[in-house]
């Protein structure tokens, strides 16, 4: 009963109406830039979170792997980019590649082991990987700065042209550009044959195996791509904050981004972006009004979404539009 309208809504969206995500992001960003020119710090953090949630969407929404340790790749990317800026070069874009490569490497190394399991075992293993990395980062103080954080990061101008400024304009557009490129690449990925294979694996690994898809290899590839994107998000945060702390590996970050994704709706890229936006705005507003109890609001919202809009909040307008069309 629940599934039918959603599936057809998707089909309808694919066939008749297709707006380009890059345009929406750009418009939204420009609008935010004009309306809230003094909140660029907050907006930039939200953009970075969007990139991280998008990477989680690839493995959770498309490949069906629920991970509670996604911060492992984010943190690795952040430390890699921070160390890269200190020891190699202050060029930000090269730093992003370093962060992405480190995230991909962490995902590949852990994915080879993790992806042989699923369900609870996978969940626990993903948590354990992030916990071990966090402990290592805390321990190797001479390299990472330990619990005080990795300091001494100074970034050069982006592409040699745009200096990071005090109001954070450069940081904002830089993060926005990265988000655009990531969305475009992920859009291409999920619409490719590889993306279709992932959806197939999510629905039935057995069937995919039967038709000759190397399931394990596809999953590892997806995990590595997601790791690279998460690493890029971590690198961005390291460059913009100019400090990396061991909290980049924290379990609560992993759990939070999963909540963001589900709020928006997994399995579609807009869902990841919308969910992050909703979560960030609620946290921002509720924390300003009553920081002690904003957790209550998120808890209620989560239950509401899980029960009444299991496809995420993005499915609500789509369903409404469909309903309106059906009645007219």
């Amino acid at each position: 009963m629940l599934q039918a309208p959603v599936i057809s809504a998707r089909a309808w969206k694919r066939s008749t109406y297709r707006f380009t995500p890059e345009l929406v992001i750009l418009l939204g960003a420009a609008l935010a830039f004009i309306c809230f020119p003094y909140d660029l710090g907050f907006l930039t953090r939200t953009l970075i979170m969007m990139i991280l949630v998008l990477s989680l969407d690839l493995i959770l929404g498309y490949a069906g792997i629920a991970s509670l340790g996604h911060a492992a790749m984010y943190g690795t990317g952040a430390y890699a980019a921070g160390l890269f800026a200190i020891h190699v070069t202050q060029e930000p874009v090269l730093g992003l590649f370093a962060g992405g490569a480190a995230g991909a490497l962490a995902a590949w190394a852990s994915g080879l082991l993790l992806l042989r399991t699923h369900g609870l075992a996978f969940l626990m293993l993903s948590i354990a990987v992030a916990a071990v990395l966090q402990d290592l980062a805390s321990k190797v103080r001479s390299v990472t700065g330990g619990a005080d954080g990795l300091t001494g990061i100074t970034m050069g101008p982006v592409l040699g042209m745009f200096e990071f400024d005090l109001p954070g304009r450069t940081g904002f557009w830089y993060a926005c550009a990265v988000l655009l490129i990531v969305t475009l690449s992920l859009q291409t990925t999920v619409n490719s044959a590889f993306g279709l294979a992932l959806r197939g694996i999510k629905n039935s690994p057995t069937r995919m195996r039967a038709i000759g898809t190397p399931v394990y290899r596809r999953l590892v590839s997806a995990y590595v791509i997601a790791g690279a994107v998460a690493g890029i998000a971590g690198a961005l945060s390291a460059q913009i904050t100019a400090l990396v702390s061991i909290e980049s590996y924290s379990f609560s970050l992993s759990a939070e981004i999963m909540v963001m994704l589900i709020l928006g709706g997994s399995g579609r890229l807009y869902g990841a972006i919308l969910g992050t936006l909703i979560f960030a705005v609620i946290q921002h507003v509720a924390a300003a009004i009553d920081p002690f109890n904003w957790l209550f609001v998120i808890g209620v919202l989560l239950l509401t979404v899980v029960f009444f809009a299991p496809e995420g909040l993005l499915s609500v307008p789509i369903r409404l539009i469909r309903l309106a069309r059906g009645s007219s």
Binding site: Y38, G41, T44, T241, S245, P291
Partner: protein, 388 residues
């Protein structure tokens, strides 16, 4: 409304806008701290002490109104801290920053405050090196070196020949361990062993057994406030260390927000620290009474006094320099004042507070409340960790 009337109203408003700042300004102060999550106690203590100070001293200086803006960063979160500082500086045009419970949160704003020339007063974060990252950092709390060295000296002077250290394995713990060990060895004592306990430890029984087997005269401990401290002191008592005559030396373990939870078992624990809410002075009595009156369920602790003195420092800087950060820092250097913790002075070189460190023992006061009773004083200790 006729167009002419409209124009005159607008002109009037514009005139008001233009003339307003010259007569009286609003000087905004941004407080960045943790108000939600497991560490929300820091933000709560900061905010309450700030409000007590404002209630006592008014919210205007020379006709300028002082306005505090609180920003939640939900725990040790460098990204959030930097973003909050950025938005405070750009949107709210704050002239001063305060707060900073965790070291990474303070370190993250260092480049910003240097660039914007805005003084940032640290109410807590206790790593010595923070103040080296920007000339605009000032600190009214303490550093781990500042309290651990007096503890070591006192232990050495009071019969301890051998001590084992047990600290949580993270930067503050290592700081405390290094400070204690170096001072204790300088006094001719011997550190039998240095135990570093994992951050996630819940069961301290194995460590108690190791401490007991070491046969040393005492144990110096440092753990993060909250559950870890609670479980450690409980294990210290139940592991039979007290009966075995192994003395407990600590710093902030018996702070006023955990001491009630520790209960009677805490009685007798000796610590060296810069503040006890039972400090005997008129100013402290007035401070704690006012806090009790405004927030009946609260007790003053290190975070309260750090914020209270931090706000005092900000008020003094505003008096001297209004919103001019560079002038304000110059005015703050060398400033001396009477704090609820005793006499304090801001070291011109380190911009860190020079203060008395008290040796205290947990006792019951006449009302049956557990307190840190000060019984010995080390006069005017600077930040010993700035150039160790």
């Amino acid at each position: 409304m006729k167009p002419l009337q409209m124009a005159s109203v607008i002109a009037g408003l514009l005139a008001a806008l233009v003339t307003c700042p010259s007569s009286a300004e609003t000087i905004r102060v941004g407080i960045i701290a943790t108000f939600s999550g497991p560490n929300a106690i820091w933000g709560k203590q900061f905010k309450e002490a700030t409000e007590v100070y404002v209630a006592e001293h008014g919210d205007s200086i020379n006709g300028d109104k002082i306005e505090f803006i609180y920003k939640d960063v939900a725990g040790p979160n460098a990204d959030a801290s930097k973003a909050a500082a950025q938005d405070l500086l750009v949107r709210d045009q704050v002239k001063y920053l305060g707060g900073f419970d965790f070291t990474p949160n303070a370190l993250a704003v260092a480049p910003l405050i240097t660039q914007a020339k805005v003084p940032a007063v640290i109410f807590n974060a206790a790593t010595s090196s923070i103040n080296k990252q920007s000339n605009f950092f000032l600190r009214t709390s303490f550093t781990l070196w500042q309290v651990s060295v007096p503890m070591a000296n006192w232990a050495a002077a009071n019969g301890a020949k051998t001590v084992i250290t047990a600290v949580t394995d993270y930067n503050p713990g290592v700081d405390a361990e290094t400070a204690f060990a170096s001072a204790f060895e300088k006094k001719g004592g011997k550190i039998v062993s240095k135990i570093r306990m994992p951050l996630q430890t819940t069961d301290f029984a194995p460590f108690m057994q190791r401490i007991k087997d070491s046969g040393s005269d005492g144990v110096f401990a440092f753990l993060p406030a909250g559950p870890a401290t609670f479980a450690f002191t409980k294990a210290y008592n139940e592991g039979g260390l007290k009966q075995a005559g192994i003395r407990f030396y600590g710093t902030g373990e018996t702070d006023e927000t955990t001491i009630d939870a520790l209960g009677d078992q805490a009685t007798g624990l000796v610590t060296a620290y810069h503040y006890s809410d039972a400090h005997e002075s008129d100013l402290n009595t007035a401070f704690t009474a006012k806090l009790k009156q405004m927030f009946p369920s609260s007790r003053a602790n290190l975070a309260s006094v750090g914020a209270y003195d931090g706000v005092h420092l900000i008020y003094q800087m505003i008096k001297a320099a209004k919103g001019d950060g560079v002038k304000a820092i110059e005015a703050a250097k060398g400033l001396a004042w009477e704090s609820p913790r005793g006499p304090v002075k801001l070291d011109p070189e380190t911009r860190h507070v020079v203060q008395n460190v008290y040796i205290r023992r947990v006792e019951k006061d006449p009302q049956g409340r557990l307190i840190n009773k000060e019984f010995d004083t080390v006069q005017q200790v600077p930040d010993l960790g700035f150039n160790p």
